[in-house]
Symmetry: C2
Subunit: 327 residues, 2 copies
């Protein structure tokens, strides 16, 4: 099996020089910027890990498709940041804020197309399967973003619909990363499907963990102000579960708290404290932690159905790195 | 050879029911709308025509990739209309105007992805070649749009740069349409390349004709108010050539006319009349018509290098339909 340090240096090389066409600069500079500000490269990392379970040599036919996952993810962030009017991402200005909206639209578009340029490097024998998987996933990510925006207009969303939304917005691309690596590595259909489910459930766990940390994390570790979802009236697992669990009286009191203004720093602090008071009264934090553990266990069951030994251990370490941030 | 009426009914069937996924409606309704308001389907039409030069039977492996060209083109229009703040397209409201900007961004994204869903239906034997061709073309179209926007800030653009820009923005997708049809039809590399050049030069002729008609067309036939490029300070072949041809005194007088305000109907009429006065004094209209004829002849030379008889005649009729609007 390819060692983790080999995968690490392959990833580093891949994104230190992402090889975007040079001209016109107005179009490609935002791509270089977006890749440079980084992130944890969790999708290409998982793709390479899944591949390494089945094959021992790295070449462009896996490295390029793996990088496509990061390029595609960055494209969705560029466009999401316009739609969400987010001024900051990873502590620096977002593309629409640093340049302008038109640049963010068009550079995002070319980044989406660039991801296909990299997908096209998959081995001919699995190109059709990889292309279909990636394209279905890409459309689902857009569907997830649409549901997310639609939900902003709703007072309450059923848990099943919330899970469906985060599955589309976050789960499927992580699932696709694992399955794509497996397919290019030459895995059987069953193993590829098991790795898809591993990634999907891990993706759900990752999103629930993100929701949990948004309310209960350490600001220094989390990298964003705590309580952002509450302040911005964003649907999250905690609110969804709290509204589902509360009795009618508590539910209307919670809805009242969620409707509080949050313009000033003081209003923000009051609103976050009040809403978290309801979470605490309902035991929502513990439920979220249990749900993360449960989803991770489901993911590992799928992993164990196709892997054992060293490979399974690597998938366990990956899962812990990704969602183990609650402990 | 497949008859033109067979191609016609295949095209009709393809776009009467474009088969977009149903949910969420907020995401897919704009796609259905954009395809329904139509256009002349010139790209899939050319793709099918080029295919029919080499193969006699139509099936999904050509029909779906052909439709991808229209879906991709519609995606670029949705995003261009946001960037250009255009309220109308084909006499109806544009997507950002009818819905909103966020919807136009996200629906455009999913439309770009949907075009790849259709490209993926190409026969396995040529899928890699088709995917590479389409992806390179798609990136070039974005590059063309970026140059177009960059040029708005320039007082004057050299003719070579203007031609490069319309080649990217308009030429390459028509070229790609022809070559893709040829590749899927089983053409040799040489024939596929000749059809690419046929489409590329025809695409340039098409754009120069569009520029000509914008100033000299019949509003009822053209479908847009005459003089729109002049009113909106858009770079076009006529202005580019006029600024290149004028002596220094006339050039500065023309630049002055191009800088005139155009807020009211009267200002618009005055500005269009003044600028067209310079075109007339310099004989630009005739030069444009000659350029269209010249580019079309170049296109037909490439066609003749790979086709003869009935096939060549069909390519000639297609060219006349596309750019023969000056006569």
């Amino acid at each position: 099996m390819i060692s983790e340090s080999q995968l690490e240096s392959a990833l580093k090389e891949l994104f230190d020089d992402p090889k975007f066409t040079a001209e016109p600069a107005g179009l490609y500079d935002p791509l270089r910027y977006m890749i440079a500000i980084g992130g944890k490269r969790i999708r290409p990392r998982l793709c390479l890990l899944a591949y390494s379970l089945f094959k021992d040599t790295l070449d462009e036919s896996i490295l390029q498709p793996a990088s496509a996952l990061e390029v595609f993810h960055s494209f969705t962030l560029i466009h999401d940041d316009i739609m969400d009017r987010s001024p900051l991402r990873r502590k620096v200005e977002t593309v629409w804020k640093k340049w302008n909206e038109d640049t963010a639209i068009l550079s995002g578009d070319v980044m989406c197309i660039e991801s296909y340029n990299r997908i096209a490097k998959a081995p001919a024998a699995v190109l059709g399967a990889v292309l279909n998987l990636f394209t279905r996933t890409a459309a689902q990510v857009c569907e997830g973003q649409q549901y997310d925006m639609d939900f902003e207009k709703e007072e309450q969303v059923p848990m099943s619909e919330y899970i469906n939304m985060i599955g589309l917005k976050t789960g499927v691309l992580i699932a696709c990363s694992a399955k794509m690596g497996a397919l290019i590595g030459g895995a059987s259909q069953t193993d590829a499907d098991n790795l898809y489910e591993y990634g999907f459930n891990l993706g759900l766990a990752f999103q629930v963990a993100d929701d949990y940390l948004d309310a209960y994390g350490d600001e220094k570790v989390f990298g964003k102000p705590i309580g952002g979802d509450i302040v911005n009236n964003k649907k999250c697992w905690l609110t969804t579960r709290a509204l589902e669990k509360a009795d009618p009286a508590m539910k209307s009191a919670l809805l009242e708290a969620l409707a509080l203004p949050s313009a000033t720093a003081e209003e923000k602090a009051v609103k976050v404290a009040k809403v978290k008071g309801f979470y605490d009264a309902l035991g929502i934090a513990d439920e979220a932690k249990n749900e993360i553990v449960r989803l991770t266990a489901v993911a590992m069951d799928y992993a164990a159905a196709s892997c054992s030994g060293e490979g399974l251990e690597a998938l366990r370490r990956y899962a812990e790195k990704l969602v183990g941030r609650t402990s």
